[in-house]
Symmetry: C2
Subunit: 209 residues, 2 copies
Amino acid sequence: MPSSAAPLRPRRRDFDETRVRILGAARNLVAERGPESLSIAEVARRAGIDRTTAYKHFRTRDDLVGAVMGSLGDEIGTMLERPMGFGDLIDHMARFFIEHPEIGRLTLHHLLAENPFPRAGWDRFVGQLERLANSSRSQEHIDAEALGHIMMAIAVLWPIQLRALEGDIEPAAAAERLAREIKRLLLFGVLRPESWPDLVDSIAGERSE
Amino acid sequence: MPSSAAPLRPRRRDFDETRVRILGAARNLVAERGPESLSIAEVARRAGIDRTTAYKHFRTRDDLVGAVMGSLGDEIGTMLERPMGFGDLIDHMARFFIEHPEIGRLTLHHLLAENPFPRAGWDRFVGQLERLANSSRSQEHIDAEALGHIMMAIAVLWPIQLRALEGDIEPAAAAERLAREIKRLLLFGVLRPESWPDLVDSIAGERSE
DNA sequence: CGTAAAGTCAACATAACTGTTGATTTTCTT
DNA sequence: AAGAAAATCAACAGTTATGTTGACTTTACG
């Protein structure tokens, strides 16, 4: 046999690796400045390659933007799909977004572009919360979808707010603080209900839908 | 007297109003696409004025971006400074961000640009929460600053997530749902603590700092 | 050592935006 | 009707980006 079965494709100067480098630079740029202001020229500069090389991997600017945003879906999906206990999920989300702020930034840009979360991952996530909400281990009348929005909002935005307010942060400590506050909130809330009869009344009334 | 006291400045074709129109168009554009991709050319097109007119109001693109972001600080400050009860504050925030999604979007872009909230407004807001946290009407060990981040994250991001998932929404209903879920969360949390001994343990241990 | 893939380089045509300038027109006040 | 502020218009020079093309160089496999 002239060419063996396994490595059918010879890779002279690893085409795929170059593609990955381009995507990486592009992802950082989108995370920093948003998809609208991504330019292939700048990406090539950052990746340290020639502009025309980039064009051999992505025919247009929009292709590149699409590839970046697509990879985001995978990443968030992977994070959410790992099956585990609820406490672990919170720890995991907190660590994930603190350690990968660029993914949180990408997510925000994604939402700002009026795109919903990738359906599959989001549905799985909300499904998990729904099971929790219907179990005897949670309070009554929990709106699972709303809870999903809330958890996502906190997880994605907190690291960015923190960085904006305090500059560089110590990841491990920040992740712990974030996870702790989410847990405290979910377990006990913030207010003593007996001191807020009006508030309690105002949500006790009707079912939401 | 040739020129009387009160209206010293004659306004032929209301300079100030034109400025406001420019700022409005610019704000919408920044809210949509982010500060990086604001162009004076596009702003002028949207405001229905000549490009050079815009340059008479704002010498450079960056001046315009600065003016837009500056106005954001005022707006959020005004919203937060209105003194009132906690329940009203939640209702007010929910309504505000549902009814003015562009301000939420601006806020996100502001945070993504690594800028902290305008100090004055933010400090007042956190101060309010701190007083609450130290009162007997709240649970113990509440981290007021963390709570501020959380509330802001929810209020700003929820409307955007909702729009992304469901397209157009009915503002009044959406605001009510948002306020209700925040209140429920703050009052009761989500989980029944007695069913989550591990979680309770994991946050009971040390003080955060 | 030859060959082909992977990448570089220089150049070109288009397009959009930035600021700036000077002449002109519109609009309002007095 | 005069005069001046506010706005328009046309033009210019400079920058940066988009895609595309063809010739060239580097790298590594067999």
